[in-house]
C-alpha cells in the first residue's frame, strides 16, 4: 500500500531539482541541489566530492619534486601558477637564491597562463548566457598561448615547467618573438571581445545588478581573486605580497565596487589588459643566466611550517607545508580559491532566477578539480 509522503521542510510551491553532476553549466562534476519556487531560486546546496582524488594525502607520500606535478591537476587552467606556489614554498624553506632570469620567466609564464585562463572563462561565460560564438573566439586566442607553452615546455595543459630551484628547461629560442606576436595579436582582439559581448545590450541586462556581493561578505566568505576585487576588496596577492619578478613591474589592480556579475566580468577583462602590460614590461628585459639552481636530488625541508600564497587566475592559492625534516611533507594543505568562492554561491544566488544562477556561477569561474582536489 502506498502512503503519501509529506515533506514538511518544503513549502507547498517549492520543489527540488538536481543540477549536475552532469550539467552543461556546472563546467565539470559539480552537483547543485536547488530548491526552486517556479523559476526563483530558494536555496543552493553544492554537493562536492565527485572528482576528489585526495591530492593532499598523496602529497604526504610524494617527494617535493613530485608534488609540483600534482598541482597541475588542481586548477588545470592555472597550472603554471599552481606549480609556482609549491616551488616558491620549497625554495623559501630551503632559502635558495633564485636567479633573476628564472623569476622573470616565471612571471611572464604566469601572466600568459592567466590570460589563457581568462580567455577560456570568457568563452564559456558567453556560452552560459547563450552566446555560443564567444567560445570559439576565446579558444582561438588561448590556442596561441598553448602553442607557446607547447614549444617551451612540451605540454599544453599540465605544464610542470616550474621545479623547485628554477625551471625544468630554459625557454625556447622562439619564445620572446612568439610572446611579442601574441601580445600584438591579442591587443587587437580584446576590443573585439568588447564589441561582441561586453557592450551587448542583452548581455548587460542579464548581468548588471545580478548576484550582488558586498565587500563585507566578500571578506567574511574569504572571496579572493576577481570575485573579491569586483566587490571592492583589494586582495591581489601580487600587490600585497609580491613574489617572483612581480615587484619589478608596475600594474594596476583591477578593482570595482559594484559587486555584481557584470563587475566580476569587467574585472577579468581588465586583468587581461594588465597581464598584457606586465608581459610587455618584462619580455624585453629577461636577464641572462642560469635557468635553474641545482638542488639535492632528494629535497628535505628543515623542520617547521611554511606558507606561500600566489595569485592564480581564480584568486588566492595558499600552500601550507608542515615538515618534520624528512623528504616528504608531514602535512600539506592547499587553500584553493575556488572552494571559498563556491561557498558564497548560496548567499548571492538566492532570490534570482535559474538564468541568474547560471550567470553568477559563470562569473565565479569555478574549476571543479580545484574545489575537490
Amino acid at each position: 500500500m502506498e502512503t503519501e509522503v509529506v515533506h514538511t521542510n518544503f513549502k507547498s510551491e517549492e520543489y527540488f531539482i538536481n543540477m549536475g553532476p552532469q550539467h552543461p553549466a556546472t563546467h565539470g562534476v559539480l552537483r547543485l541541489l536547488l530548491t526552486i519556487d517556479g523559476e526563483i531560486i530558494k536555496k543552493v546546496e553544492p554537493d562536492l566530492g565527485y572528482i576528489h582524488r585526495s591530492i593532499e594525502k598523496m602529497c604526504e607520500r610524494d617527494s617535493y619534486q613530485q608534488i609540483v606535478h600534482l598541482t597541475d591537476r588542481m586548477d588545470y587552467l592555472s597550472a603554471n601558477i599552481n606549480n609556482e606556489a609549491v616551488c616558491l614554498a620549497v625554495e623559501n624553506a630551503l632559502q635558495l637564491e633564485i636567479p633573476d632570469r628564472v623569476q622573470v620567466i616565471r612571471t611572464i609564464i604566469g601572466e600568459l597562463t592567466r590570460i589563457a585562463s581568462h580567455c577560456l572563462w570568457w568563452g564559456v561565460m558567453g556560452m552560459d548566457v547563450g552566446a555560443l560564438t564567444t567560445y570559439f573566439y576565446g579558444f582561438r586566442d588561448r590556442e596561441m598561448i598553448n602553442d607557446i607553452m607547447e614549444e617551451t615546455c612540451g605540454a599544453r595543459l599540465t605544464m610542470n615547467y616550474n621545479v623547485p630551484g628554477g625551471l625544468m628547461h630554459d625557454i625556447h629560442p622562439n619564445f620572446v618573438k612568439r610572446v611579442k606576436d601574441f601580445v600584438a595579436h591579442f591587443k587587437t582582439k580584446l576590443p573585439e571581445y568588447d564589441r561582441l559581448l561586453t557592450e551587448n545590450i542583452i548581455f548587460k541586462k542579464r548581468m548588471i545588478g545580478v548576484g550582488i556581493l558586498s565587500k563585507e561578505d566578500a571578506i567574511s566568505f574569504g572571496a579572493s581573486g576577481p570575485v573579491g576585487r569586483a566587490s571592492g576588496y583589494s586582495c591581489d596577492v601580487r600587490i600585497h605580497h609580491p613574489y617572483s619578478a612581480i615587484d619589478k613591474v608596475t600594474f594596476n589592480e583591477a578593482l570595482r565596487t559594484e559587486g555584481d556579475t557584470y563587475a566580476r566580468y569587467l574585472v577579468r577583462i581588465q586583468e587581461m589588459w594588465e597581464s598584457l602590460s606586465i608581459i610587455e614590461q618584462l619580455i624585453d628585459v629577461i636577464p641572462e643566466g642560469e635557468h635553474r639552481v641545482v638542488t639535492n636530488a632528494v629535497i628535505k625541508l628543515p623542520k617547521g611550517e611554511y606558507y606561500q600564497k600566489v595569485e592564480t587566475a581564480r584568486g588566492e592559492l595558499g600552500v601550507y607545508i608542515i615538515s618534520t625534516g624528512t623528504k616528504n611533507p608531514y602535512r600539506l594543505k592547499f587553500r584553493s580559491p575556488g572552494f571559498s568562492n563556491l561557498s558564497l554561491l548560496n548567499h548571492i544566488a538566492v532570490g534570482g532566477k535559474i538564468g541568474d544562477l547560471v550567470a553568477t556561477m559563470a562569473t565565479l569561474d569555478l574549476v571543479i578539480p580545484d574545489i575537490d582536489r
Binding site: I17, P24, T133, F136, N200, I354, D356
Partner: protein, 353 residues
C-alpha cells in the same frame, strides 16, 4: 508565354481514368507527398545551412565532407537518427509522450500548405490565409507542452512551461504586426496580398509603420520559433535540453526539424507580406513566372540568414526580461502602430509606385 501546366496535365490524365471523387483523393495524396518532400528537403537543407553559417561566424569550417560541401551531411544524420533506439523515461505518460512530436511537426506542415511559393505552386489559397497561419502556428506549443509535461522530467517541465508563456505572449505580436499590414491590403488572402504588392512591396507602401511592423514581426517570430536569443525553452546551459531532454532518435529529430521548418515559415511569411513574395523586384522577370520560386526562396533565405545571425551573435534573455520585452514594449508599440497605419491609409499617405 510558356506555361508548364504540370498540374493540369496530371488532372486531365487522372480524369481520363477514374471518377471525379477518386481523382480529387488521388490529387490530395499527390500534393501531400510533394509537400512532405519539400518539407524534408527544406528541413535538411536548413539544418546544414545553419551549421555552415554558424561555422562561418565561429571561425570554423563546418560540415563539408559528406557529399559536395557537406550537402549529404544532414541526410546521413537523419539516417543515423532513424536507426537509433527510442528511449524514454519509465514513468512517462506514454500516450502523450509519443503524441507530442506529431503535434509539433503537423502544425509546421499545415502552415507550409498556405505559403505561396509562386503563383501556381500554392496548395491551399483560402480567403483567411493569414488568420489560418496565426491559428496553426499556435498548435505547435501544445506539442511542446505535452512533451515537457509527459516526459516526467523537471528540466523538461520547466522548459515546457517557459515555452507556453513565451509562445502565448509572442503570438499577440506576430498576429498584430501581420494585421497592421492587412490594414493596407484589406484582405487576408495571401494570393491577393501578393497581387496588391504589384504596386510596390508593402514595406515600401506602408513605409514607417510597415518597417516597425516588420521589425516587431521578426523579433516576435524568432521568439515564436523558440530560437536564440529567445531559446529559453531549450536554454542548454540552464535546462540541459529543455522540453526534449527525454526524447531520442527520430522523435527528437521531429522536434529538431520542426524548429527549422518554423524558422522557414516565419521567414516565408515575412517575405510574402512585406517583400512581395514571389514578385520580382520592379517586375524585372515578370514575363517568366517560373522565376517566382527563385525570388520567393531568395527573399526567404535572406530572412532566414537574418535569424541565424541573431542566433549566433546574441546572448539569451532571461525569462522575465522576455516577458517584459513583449508586454511592456512590443505590444504597446504594435497597438500604436496599427492606429498609425490606419491613419496613413485613411489619409492616403501610402506610397504607391
Amino acid at each position: 508565354m510558356i506555361q508548364l501546366r504540370i498540374t493540369e496535365h496530371i488532372h486531365n490524365w487522372l480524369s481520363g481514368m477514374m471518377s471525379e471523387g477518386a481523382v480529387s483523393i488521388v490529387e490530395m495524396v499527390l500534393i501531400a507527398i510533394v509537400y512532405l518532400t519539400v518539407f524534408a528537403i527544406a528541413g535538411l537543407f536548413l539544418v546544414l545551412l545553419e551549421r555552415r553559417v554558424a561555422a562561418w561566424f565561429q571561425l570554423r569550417i563546418g560540415p563539408n565532407r559528406v557529399g559536395f560541401q557537406g550537402l549529404l551531411q544532414t541526410m546521413a544524420d537523419a539516417i543515423k537518427l532513424l536507426t537509433k533506439e527510442l528511449t524514454g523515461t519509465e514513468k512517462a505518460d506514454k500516450f502523450l509522450y509519443n503524441l507530442a512530436p506529431y503535434f509539433v511537426i503537423i502544425s509546421a506542415l499545415m502552415a507550409l500548405a498556405v505559403i505561396p511559393f509562386t503563383k501556381e505552386f500554392h496548395a491551399f489559397d483560402i480567403n483567411i490565409g493569414i488568420f489560418f497561419l496565426i491559428a496553426i502556428s499556435s498548435i505547435g506549443v501544445i506539442g511542446i507542452l505535452l512533451g515537457g509535461w509527459s516526459s516526467n522530467n523537471k528540466f523538461a517541465m520547466i522548459g515546457a512551461m517557459r515555452s507556453g508563456v513565451q509562445t502565448i505572449s509572442y503570438e499577440l505580436s506576430v498576429g498584430l504586426s501581420l494585421l497592421t499590414m492587412v490594414v493596407i491590403t484589406g484582405t487576408l488572402q495571401l494570393s491577393e496580398i501578393i497581387e496588391f504588392q504589384k504596386n510596390g512591396w508593402l514595406i515600401v507602401q506602408g513605409h514607417i509603420p510597415a518597417i516597425i511592423a516588420f521589425m516587431v514581426f521578426m523579433i516576435s517570430g524568432t521568439a515564436e520559433t523558440n530560437r536564440a536569443p529567445f531559446d529559453m525553452v531549450e536554454a542548454e546551459s540552464e535546462l540541459g535540453a529543455g522540453f526534449h531532454t527525454e526524447y531520442s532518435g527520430m522523435k527528437f529529430a521531429y522536434f529538431f526539424l520542426a524548429e527549422f521548418i518554423n524558422m522557414f515559415i516565419i521567414s516565408a511569411i515575412a517575405a510574402t507580406i512585406f517583400f512581395g513574395g514571389w514578385l520580382s523586384p520592379f517586375g524585372i522577370t515578370e514575363s517568366i513566372p517560373e522565376l517566382g520560386v527563385f525570388w520567393f526562396l531568395a527573399k526567404t533565405m535572406v530572412l532566414v540568414f537574418l535569424m541565424m545571425w541573431f542566433r549566433w551573435t546574441f546572448p539569451r534573455l532571461r525569462v522575465d526580461q522576455l516577458l517584459t520585452l513583449e508586454w511592456k514594449y512590443l505590444l504597446p508599440i504594435n497597438l500604436v502602430n496599427i492606429v498609425l497605419m490606419a491613419v496613413l491609409v485613411w489619409l492616403n499617405l501610402t506610397i504607391r509606385l
